[in-house]
Symmetry: C2
Subunit: 407 residues, 2 copies
């Protein structure tokens, strides 16, 4: 028998991270926000920091630059801690898409033996689009391989041996957690950490991983459209050059009369002038994540997704739902997909009639993200309770199903 | 004989744009800020708008996206007005560097007959770096040609005929204003508008220009590291494809199962998720510029740079300065370079001892930018008066000359 609401409240009382919820703006306590894996909440420290940076622009004007110019590296070093990388290995800049583009091209340039690039059909579309464009431009083969069981994510045997492969650490639909070390042994992998960073330990250095990209607006709570990042292991940096050469990646930026020479270290992957407001938001989002600690966040995320799945099994399975995510928490990231033929109207009804914010992912997933920094056990319990009630009463058959599917 | 301070005050009293100064944060009335061509001031409306967008993130969370997703196109349309382009021709996204990279590659892909790319030695370094990288990657010839007279900027005869050429509308050192139509008739030109947009009429459509990029943090007052933009004339859009294919440039962004197909129109040049805070700042900066009107801003800018040059001739030339910008206002943008062998210590002394903020540009320029939205005639008068006094007394020989040369 599933846990009661009282049980969920007791879990909250025992939660060592419970106080972190206070660090975030929560405008409406009745609204249950389970889409922090798409856009994380606003940390109060970020709001205050952004106000300060805006005032700094107004007051200091161009004199602010000697401090601002350090922001990409400083923010990257803070993020490196959360990703299990070393200082000087992570750079916060541009978007995930642009960073992936730079890194794929840099690797192909450095190693002409790489003639095949690949990804799996379950990877996030922008990664595939980037690879399609690069394959066309360079006349390379792009292999987009199916995963035998999407719920389990990519398996080493399915990865083309010796290829340059882009894989998501956590699948954006299923939430499947890839076996990074095993996959990395099979091919040169660029890891997309967008759906795991901030909620799942990544241990880039400990796992010997060499390349990664990701975004900061999900579990890292840096705000809508905040910058992406890239990671290149120290030993690989000097042999790589970005295809997009700009003045912030130049060796001596203000010696303007010379030909381009890449800066030392990870800074060589910078292109144009970095957005200072955005970097400040990333720094604050990363800071609160680091303070909570990635291991503690992971433990809480697992406990909450286990609760969610237990409630699904008892309440939702009889209503036609099936679990669209791995059942083993060690094989799962921090979101859970609940599949149902009416997933789209159910998502609309949850938002419009039940004050629960999920994410629809086609064709048939109600995706629920657990952002452990601010989600309570009782939020999970209430959300699944409201979902059960709504579907049992057929409320989803009453909503306007034509609204656009903008996430 | 030069104008008196009283004359300058009378010019301010007669200035139809004088009230726009009230729209900006001015923290220190004694500090004379003549570096708005490097980083523009903070509009009060931008501060308020950013506060609202931060709160909107906190309150609406992912429900904000249906509005935010319109921001790149909406902001681009507002900017189009300032640039003399049509709605649907300008996109605010990424950095200038990344936009230039996308546009050069798109043009080279569309027209394989373009085998030579070129720029002039007086162009801003990041433009040259981008071209160096593309030339290397594609095995093309890059011609970097000298301008016979840097004070006059690039001349049509110096441009390699039929090449793909990147030129600045206004030279970042000399302030020389290029003859866009004549140069464009000679080659396929991508115009870098960074040093003119917001202070000089550009008239992209009226001049029949096809391609441009630029930044928004100078005269457009969008803040440190704010987004860049690109312009592609309507008739050229459908034949061009960005090399960086991302989900925001995809035809039907949320139909995630299909191969990449470029979106219709200028949106095809988008890559990753756009930074919403930054776009809001760009929109506000563009709005105040449009409200003042680019023709009125140009008239004021010319009057102020004429005052500056008249004072230079009378007071500074005897102290060893020479004019590093065109004397004809029709050939000049909105900044004036005053050359002196001691330009670097003079710039340090202006900042540290005289509360005047110029910009040093190597090897020997004191660059003074006139941002006509908020600069007063009396500011110009006072700045040149303080500069005269400082050099006459040799104060620049007392300052620490070792400080780093960050812009």
């Amino acid at each position: 028998m599933a846990l009661t609401r009282g049980d969920a409240m007791r879990l909250d009382n025992a939660d060592p991270l419970a106080d972190f919820r206070e660090r975030f703006v929560i405008a409406d306590e009745h609204k249950l926000y389970l889409d922090g894996n798409s856009l994380g909440r606003l940390p109060k420290a970020t709001r205050d920091r952004l106000h300060r940076v805006i005032d700094q622009w107004g007051d200091e004007l161009v004199s602010g630059w000697p401090e601002w110019i350090e922001a990409p590296a400083r923010t990257g070093d803070a993020l490196a801690e959360v990703l299990g990388a070393s200082a000087g290995e992570v750079l916060v800049t541009d978007s995930t898409t642009v960073n992936l583009y730079k890194l794929v091209n840099a690797l192909l340039d450095a190693d002409p033996a790489l003639r095949t690039i690949a990804t799996d059909t379950d990877n996030f579309p922008t990664d595939r689009y980037v690879l399609e464009g690069i394959a066309r431009a360079r006349g390379l083969e792009l292999q987009i391989f199916e995963n035998a069981d999407p719920l389990n994510g990519p398996q080493p045997d399915d990865v083309p041996e010796g290829a340059l492969v882009v894989l998501s650490h956590v699948g954006y639909r299923s939430g499947a957690l890839a076996d990074m070390a095993a996959l990395d042994a099979r091919a040169t992998v660029i890891w997309d950490l967008s759906h795991s960073a901030g909620a799942v330990p990544i241990d880039l250095n400990a796992r010997g991983l060499r390349y990664a990209v990701g975004c900061t607006y999900k579990y890292l709570n840096a705000g809508p459209g905040a910058a992406g990042y890239l990671y290149v292991a120290q030993a690989e940096q000097e042999r790589l050059r970005t295809p997009i050469q700009g003045w912030f990646g130049q060796d001596d930026q203000f010696a303007m009369e010379r030909p381009y020479a890449p800066a030392a270290g990870i800074a060589r992957f910078m292109a144009g002038t970095p957005p200072i407001l955005v970097l400040a938001a990333v720094e604050e989002g990363v800071r609160v994540t680091a303070e909570a600690g990635i291991e503690a966040l992971r433990a809480k995320s697992i406990a909450q997704s286990e609760l969610l799945i237990a409630l699904h099994d008892e309440w939702l399975a009889p209503l036609g739902f099936t679990l669209g995510s791995p059942r083993d928490p060690q094989r799962r990231g921090s979101h859970v997909s609940l599949n149902h033929p009416d997933a789209w109207p159910i998502c609309r009804a949850l938002i419009e009639r039940a004050d629960v914010i999920p994410d629809f992912r086609g064709p048939d997933s109600v995706r629920l993200g657990i952002a452990p920094l601010y989600t309570r056990f009782v939020d999970v319990w209430d959300a699944i309770d409201r979902l059960r009630d709504l579907v049992a009463r057929g409320v989803h058959r009453e909503v306007d199903q034509t609204r656009s599917r903008v996430t």
